[in-house]
Amino acid sequence: MPYRVHCMVCAGTGCVSNRSLEVRDALENEIRKRGLQDEIQIVTTGCNGFCAVGPLMVVQPDGIFYQQVSAKDVPLLVEEHFIKGRPVQKLLYKPPEAAAPIPKMSDIPFFKHQRLIALRNRGLIDPEKIEDYIARDGYQALVKALTEMTPEQIIEVITKSGLRGRGGAGFPTGVKWQKVRQAKGEPKYIICNGDEGDPGAFMDRSIFESDPHSVIEGMLIGARAIGARYGVVYIRNEYPLALERIQIAIQQAREYGLLGENILDSGLDFDISVTRGAGAFVCGEETALIASVEGRLGDPRARPPYPAEYGLWGKPTCINNVETWANVPPIILHGWEWYSQIGTERSKGTKVFSLVGKVRNTGLVEVPMGITLRQLIYDIGGGIPGDKKFKAVQTGGPSGGCIPAGMMDQPIEYIAPDGKREARDYLDLPIDYESLTDVGSMMGSGGLVVMDEDTCMVDVARYFLAFTQDESCGACTPCREGTKLMLDILNRIVDGHGTMDDLRALEEIAWVVKQTSLCGLGKTAPNPVLTTLKYFRDEYLAHIEAHKCPAHVCRALNTYRIDPVICVERGHGCGVCRRECPEKAIFGEKNQPHRIDQTLCKKCGVCVEVCHFNAVIVE
């Protein structure tokens, strides 16, 4: 008997940590208590993407979206919705500016503008059930690739579809497959790069968690196309749920005869093993990843030779990102014409972004290439919370650059692929590989960090550089020594000891590190510095010349002062700041204005945090 209602409870990492599993258990109990177990099915799904409002739940077939559901809401929910058929108003999503809540998921702006290809099954299937995947046309593309297409035809379709590597560099996938296919050496290997190291990016994890079979199917099609015998899924050990789900999926695929020898009686032999990474950022670099799989220290090596010729165990190896593999089955199933309609001239299809930072709707979104930053941040992301001003957006993780909003209305020159120069607005910048590179940033794995006016760009550059400097493997001189010296300079600037000579040296070293480093890590590590220097030079100058941090982030440059009027009139000289000050730098009596002795103040900022009356002023 078919179920009347399907209740999809999100079990992605974000919602699980918000106790969505408790909600699921409560639902199951409640439904059993009321004898509805034959009418209502509870499905635990992978990440829905709208992590900001978790734990969340979608009730099908109506597509009613519930947010921030807790276990104690469950009896009401079952009573009202499942029995009486009335959606529970207080659990529906309500945009801040709108008066009425939006009950249907497809009407919510966050979802409305998305186009799901890689994440096509998110929130719809139980990722631990291969039957669910197959019911959603899963492994159809594999059957098509095995029975109706030659390897050459598969490669042709992928090439014509315009699919490019989703790991960041955007190398055309079909060309890579062709190279590996033609390379000499047996056996050939396929690697799925799931070493998602960018802080704040979690699209790979989400795909593993919500739809692991799509990756396996993509790898199987790739194996058929390039003639590979073995596959490796490289996944961070910090993703326990993703690891568990991909392992379950591989096991299920083996049981169904979709992995192993003579798959579907086609003569294709292919099997996948899982390698867990220890979490070094540089292991996302393909040669370092291969070294890590081989059991060596995860150091990149100089290319050429490329892994397509000399990869895992010295054999031709095709290494693609998780998202790339997940994109393969729909392309095969629906054809390259369908896929190449989506996106821009040179960047086809969709891209998954993790939208984080100072934006209302944080979460994972999949949007067509060519969408503008404005659409992404305002339409999907819901804009900046509070009444703060949008300042910049950082794309591509720690290796990317900062694109300013301050130049929103000031067009810049954009060199189109055909060489034509045209004026563009940054915020209206259509996102694709080339446009981001042209403004000094990069697509990267798809991290998008939105920053508001409270963000100090020098501090942002320092933060990202500290990350890449710490993650540098240390093999080549510029990256090892250069990032460290750059970080030293930035630390000096942030501490107020920077000089103009430092700034010049910083620019020169950054240029050399970018130009001469051995691997992608070093070549992109200076991007945050170079872009902030380009677009926010005034902030650097403020730090160096005026010894001020315009965003009041760099504490060493701040001056803390207590407004005597507020202190007395509103706070009656409460003395919290005096008691909490670790340096005993604040003096004053009850009902008297307090004051900070600037010679003793170490600028820790504790007084700002403890004052209930906002009497401490930062300048």
Binding site: A302, P304, G474, A475, T477, P478, E481, K484, V512, Q515
Partner: protein, 589 residues
């Protein structure tokens, strides 16, 4: 072939050539640091950066590992390249300001002083600059993988696993050889267990055994060769243009059919360290005669100069005769050659270090050959001291500063009847000539006899001193007994002449001592067939008798003694003859 342009010069190179190789061919200088011709290009130091024209501008690549492509346009001296190189060197200077190779690179790129000081600054002139040549040669060439590195980024360090002495290390010294700063050091003596002051033996894996070796070709010492330890290296194969190096070669067993054999297997030297009282291998500056021969050799380690361990010429040298010879505890025989070579040493030391006092400690001075006695008196006239008496012991002279390193020889001077202590700073031990250590095996192999001292026994000490008891087998040289060169030449010539005489004759005479079976008496019992060690007796099925093949029979008579029918006669030693002999022998009371 690929054509490309470097600095405006068009050139053609073979496929797979790197930019660095192409540039060096054109004599265009490109500085390198981590690059080493023995190693795979690593591209880590980034000093060899050059500029390549690309459709969308330019790209900076490392010359050492980038292969040439068709139509490539390469610039090695643009502003970008100069700036990149200068900053890269500056980054190194900031960390290792005193390393000579970094300073040299700084001079090349025109950098005087770095603008920064690294937190990790290391002022040692032999600091590790993380070129990882050592790690790479250990893995790629040697194959031992004994060195690695730990940590990442700025904290990266070259270490052995767990900072322990690496068990995988084969002590080849390749890491120290390729280290550009001298950070890696190698002390080869430690592991070879040889006295460090004096590596008189060969100390590389490929060497000509001795300077006078015949044939004068190098050989590979399996003990030291890296290839035989790790299966790696084989650099010698790469560099040998004649393709003459072959690691697969092994000892071969050849079977050569010959009619006569001359056993001239030579001798071994008495191990002087057995006589602990003389301090060989325990105290410094004590050498055996062979060590000194090597030192006196013009192609030897000191170029023929007599030197102490500290490099100074000796002030006094003691030469001790009869070490292991004429000694109840070791060898009772006289080694025959020591007195004369000891006098030769005395003469040569006087010649090369005229200031040095030379003392000879002898039991009897045996200057018996032609011209020998004259040489003895000449050496005496040169001022060499001779002391008759066996040395009791050699000891360290003392521990005071001025006595440091000197030795004291204690002996009895039997001519004046006094105990003497003589200070010297070098001692030469004339160790005995011994039979080869494998003489027993050789004797078994050839059926040779050995005299009580272990040397091979000749057929007759007076009447037949070159032949042995086996026909066609001769001995010569020290294999037969200690002798000097003229005696050896004489004996060897005699043996050769004897052998040639047999060859010249064309036929071999055999002893008539043979066995023969009387077929009338033979019952065909076949007792004799099984006894014959030479399988010289065959059984004739048709006649039901056995027959001796007289070409195979050696006449031992075993079958004669065993034949139950008395059908076998041993010519020369027949029953009749032996009985008659017995009767004659016992006829007289």
């Amino acid at each position: 072939m690929i054509s490309l342009t470097i600095n405006g010069t068009r050139t053609e190179v073979r496929e797979g050539t790197t930019i660095l190789q192409a540039a060096r061919f054109l004599e265009i200088p490109i500085p390198t640091l981590c690059y080493h011709p023995w190693l795979k290009p690593f591209g880590a130091c980034r000093i060899c950066t050059v500029q390549v024209q690309r459709p969308r501008g330019y790209e900076l690549v490392t010359a050492c590992n980038t292969p040439c492509e068709e139509g490539m346009v390469i610039q090695t001296d643009t502003d970008h390249v100069r700036q990149a190189r200068r900053v890269v060197v500056e980054l190194m200077m900031a960390r290792w300001p005193n390393v000579p190779i970094v300073q040299k690179l700084a001079a090349e790129v025109g950098l005087e002083k770095p603008r920064f000081i690294s937190e990790m600054r290391d002022e040692a002139p032999d600091a590790c600059i993380l070129c990882l040549r050592c790690v790479r040669i250990c893995e790629e060439v040697v194959g031992a993988c004994a060195i690695g590195y730990e940590d990442r980024g700025i904290k990266r360090k070259v270490v052995t696993p767990f900072h322990e002495e690496s068990e995988a290390c084969v002590a080849c010294g390749a890491c120290a050889h390729v280290c550009p700063t001298g950070h890696m050091k190698f002390e080869p003596e430690d592991y070879r267990g040889k006295p460090p002051e004096f590596l008189l033996g060969p100390n590389t894996a490929i060497h000509v055994m001795t300077p006078q070796a015949v044939p004068k070709v190098p050989r590979i010492d399996r003990e030291s060769c890296i290839h035989f330890k790790t299966n790696g290296c084989q650099k010698c194969v790469e560099v040998c243009e004649a393709k003459a190096v072959n690691h697969e070669m092994t000892d071969q067993e050849l079977e050569i059919e010959v009619g006569q054999i001359l056993v001239a297997t030579g001798y071994d030297l008495f191990d002087a360290s057995v006589m602990a009282q003389y301090g060989y291998g325990r105290l410094d500056n004590i050498y055996t005669a062979l060590d000194i021969e090597r030192m006196l050799n013009a192609t030897g380690p000191t170029g023929g100069q007599i030197r102490l361990k500290n490099g100074q010429p000796p002030r006094a040298v003691g030469i001790i005769h009869c070490v292991g010879s004429r000694d109840e505890n070791y060898h009772r025989y006289c080694s025959r050659v020591c007195c004369m070579y000891a006098l030769k040493f005395a003469h040569l030391i006087k010649e090369r270090c005229p200031e040095a006092e030379v003392y000879n400690f002898y039991i009897d001075m045996r200057a018996f050959g032609k011209g020998y006695e004259e040489f003895y008196s000449r050496v005496l006239h040169e001022g060499v001291n001779v002391i008759r008496g066996k040395v009791a012991e050699v000891v360290q002279a003392g521990w005071s500063k001025q006595e440091e390193g000197t030795l004291l020889i204690r002996c009895e001077d039997t001519l004046i009847g006094k105990l003497r202590e003589i200070p010297v700073d070098m001692v030469i031990l004339c160790n005995a000539i011994e039979p080869r250590r494998d003489a027993e095996r050789v004797a078994r192999l050839f059926g040779l006899s050995r005299s009580p001292d272990g040397f091979f026994l000749e057929r007759h000490p007076k009447l037949d001193p070159v032949a042995t008891s086996s026909d066609g087998l001769f001995v010569a040289g020290c294999a037969q007994g200690p002798k000097d060169i003229p005696d050896t030449v004489a004996q060897a010539s005699a043996a050769a002449a004897r052998m040639l005489a047999t060859i010249a004759k064309g036929v071999v005479e055999m002893d008539p001592v043979r066995a023969e079976i009387n077929e009338e008496y033979c019952s065909g019992c076949r007792v004799c067939n099984a006894l014959c060690p030479y399988e010289a007796i065959e059984y004739l099925e048709d006649k039901n008798v056995s027959r001796v093949n007289s070409a195979l029979c050696k006449g031992c008579g075993t079958c004669v003694a065993a034949c139950p029918a008395g059908a076998i006669t041993g010519y020369g030693f027949s029953d009749l003859q032996l009985h008659a002999e017995l009767e004659g022998l016992l006829a007289v009371r």
